[in-house]
């Protein structure tokens, strides 16, 4: 395990050098908010803003991804035969990712990497990414990571952890991959005991700064069908406009759609993010839609995140407490309020 300190500009310089040889993805502020993007010449990573508007899930799970390509030329012997689209799985690096987001990949992994089926693109993408995390010294008012099994200084899903100590970063390897990266980067100075003490204090303050919380202790006890029939689903969330804001900004939402797109005699099979909030999500070819009413879709989203997933996987709820859905929702549908209604429910 390597534990070093780097002066801030030395660390930025190391990342910039890395970005010349490999893909480095970090938060970049575009004006009103930050999003994760591949660093290009001149881009300054934003390690100050607490969370990006959209989660970094698109690094491993792009919003639109080519799966296959095919020819539709009747003269060709390849007509109609699907071929896997070429991908580049050279090692890439995500810097400045927060513990909640890093942890989210572990929650999503159980969906794409199962004993029966494996999603080649998600798995290859995830395994070829090194995650350089940044601990959160201070939580936002909408963060509730500690209620979901995470922590502002959590290391789950990270290969390297950095802590902002003011004028320098403490940089620690968490996995072998992380150690390999730090060896490659070199430089820095050995972390002193004072620094380690300071970091422990920062961690304590960070955890205390998480003011928002949800309780989920009762969810496992409640019967799935009882919670499903609860009255509060019917009209509490009428303000929802059924957009995809929550699902698209959420690091643990993974639903997708598969479509074929054709131009002249060539086609692609692509997948795009989809949302259970969209009315057409469950519409059958015959026209029947089991979730054609708004409250059914809202119920589905929260039952999935807070009941079906924890029951199925025993990894806690399908939420890392990042608070993005709360901030992004135009109608102020707040998952914290929903969790409270669900957890407090009794038949």
């Amino acid at each position: 395990m390597i534990e070093k300190s780097y002066k801030k500009d030395e660390w930025q310089g190391a990342l910039a050098k890395l970005a010349k040889e490999s893909r480095v993805i970090a938060p970049v502020n575009g004006g009103t908010h930050s999003v994760f993007k591949t660093l290009e010449e001149g881009d300054v990573p934003d390690f100050k803003s607490s969370k990006t508007r959209l989660s970094p899930k698109s690094v491993v799970f792009p919003q639109s991804e080519r799966m296959f390509e095919y020819s539709l030329d009747e003269e060709s012997e390849e007509n109609g035969i699907l071929k896997e689209a070429k991908k580049d799985y050279a090692e890439k690096f995500v810097a400045g990712i927060r513990p909640c987001d890093a942890r989210s990949f572990k929650l999503v992994q159980v969906n794409f990497d199962t004993p029966t089926y494996k999603d080649p693109w998600w798995i290859n993408n995830y395994e070829s990414t090194t995650f350089i995390g940044q601990a959160c010294n201070k939580a936002c008012s909408t963060c509730f990571c500690t209620s979901t099994g995470g922590s502002p200084f959590g290391e789950e899903g990270l290969d390297v952890v950095t802590v902002d100590m003011g004028d320098s970063f403490l940089v620690k390897s968490v996995t072998d991959k992380g150690e390999k990266l730090l060896n490659t980067i070199g430089g820095g100075a050995d972390a002193t005991d004072d620094m380690k003490t300071k970091v422990a204090e920062l961690e304590k303050a960070a955890v205390a700064s998480v003011k928002s919380e949800i309780k989920t202790d009762n969810l496992k006890e409640l019967k799935e069908t009882d919670l499903f029939e609860a009255d509060f689903w019917k009209d509490t969330f009428d303000g929802c406009i059924n957009c995809g804001g929550c699902t698209f900004s959420c690091p643990t939402c993974w639903c997708f759609d598969i479509q074929d797109e054709v131009q002249k005699k060539e086609g692609d099979r692509i997948r795009n993010w989809d949302s259970c909030m969209f009315p057409l999500f469950t519409k059958h070819g015959m026209g029947h839609n089991p979730r054609d009413q708004k409250f059914q879709r809202i119920r589905q989203r929260f039952m999935h995140k807070l009941k079906y997933y924890p029951d199925k996987y025993d990894k806690g709820i399908m939420c890392v407490g990042c608070g993005r859905c709360v901030e992004v929702c135009p109608a102020n549908i707040d998952i914290r309020r929903v969790a409270e209604l669900m957890n407090n429910y009794s038949k």
Partner: protein
């Protein structure tokens, strides 16, 4: 406008209690600064949760579409124009509605305010004509009029154009305001600059359709972007598909949009969506001398033909 809250609660209670309406649509206080939760309530006890302030920016007319009950609904100037459009387009019947008019001095642009402070805003309070924001280590007060949403800064109809009762006295309309100054600035640009602008603005779109879903005018049972037989627009984030969606949606707003700003408010990635719709509103005014929803009597712009209509494009 915060002093409207009591009157709104009282009105909602009265209308629900005496059975004039089955449903009342207003706002509850949000769990975050700058956002309120649209509330569709059915009994008078819930009326105590209703509030009004300069963050009631989502268009309540959106929740009226195709309802069959008797509804009391709050309506600012722009929202009331949307109600007028809904009546024209047969999305709701006049007899179903009790329109509770709200003379509006504008909604606060939360993005602008957030950009003017350093740190997370934890609390927003309004008093009189000022708005105060507080964070962990700062407190700043602004004149509400200085931090309004861009559409509210050039608002031509602050008072409701159609209503059954008002919650307060009418407010003076803005005068001397060039509604289309921003559009004129774009019109003066070269084609390359305009295209580059267009590309830049919609680059961050994530196709969440919050803009479309927040818009009261977007009520097609199957939106063109969801149509599959045939499929008009791709569903990926390919820039051409994304720009096509926004372009076509804006055209579907021509002569109907009331510039309420709900689309911009709803966008999770802060896209200035009125960039396109504003231009179409200006065209409707310049070419056809038409402003949407100012009354219930006239027909929608694209439903009418006059022999004097512009026809120099017919060669």
């Amino acid at each position: 406008m915060v002093n409207y809250t009591d009157k709104i609660r009282e009105t909602a209670k009265r209308l629900l209690n005496d059975g004039t309406v089955d449903t009342f649509i207003g706002y509850r206080k949000g769990s975050l600064p700058f956002v309120n939760n649209p509330a569709i309530i059915h009994n008078a006890e819930e009326a105590d949760e209703l509030v009004w302030d300069s963050n009631c920016a989502l268009n309540l007319c959106n929740y009226l579409t195709n309802r069959t009950d008797k509804i009391g609904v709050l309506a600012t100037g722009c929202n009331s124009r949307n109600i007028a459009m809904h009546l024209k387009e047969n999305k709701i019947k006049r007899e179903q509605l009790v329109i509770v008019g709200v003379p509006c001095t504008g909604m606060v642009d939360h993005r602008a305010v957030k950009g003017m402070v350093d740190g997370e805003i934890l609390e927003v309070t309004e008093a009189g004509e000022e708005i105060t924001v507080k964070g962990d280590d700062f407190e700043k007060t602004f004149k509400t009029a200085d931090v309004l949403q861009t559409n509210c800064q050039t608002c031509a109809h602050r008072n409701p154009v159609i209503f059954d009762e008002l919650v307060a006295d009418e407010v003076p309309e803005l005068d001397g305001v060039n509604q289309y100054a921003d559009v004129e600035a774009v019109e003066a640009q070269s084609d390359e600059e305009k295209w580059q602008n267009f590309e830049n603005i919609f680059e961050s779109c994530i196709r969440c359709y919050a803009c479309r879903n927040a818009c009261p005018l977007c009520y097609c049972p199957t939106c063109f972007v969801d149509e599959s037989k045939p499929q008009w627009v791709g569903k990926s984030t390919d820039p051409t598909d994304t720009m096509t969606f926004h372009f076509l949606r804006a055209f579907h707003m021509a002569g109907r949009c009331t510039d309420c700003g709900a689309c911009e408010r709803a966008c999770p990635v802060d896209i200035p969506l009125r960039y396109l719709t504003k231009k179409l509103n200006k065209d409707a005014k310049d070419i056809y001398d038409y402003e949407s929803g100012t009354n219930v009597e006239d027909k929608a712009l694209l439903d009418t033909y006059k022999p004097t209509d512009l026809n120099d494009f017919i060669r």
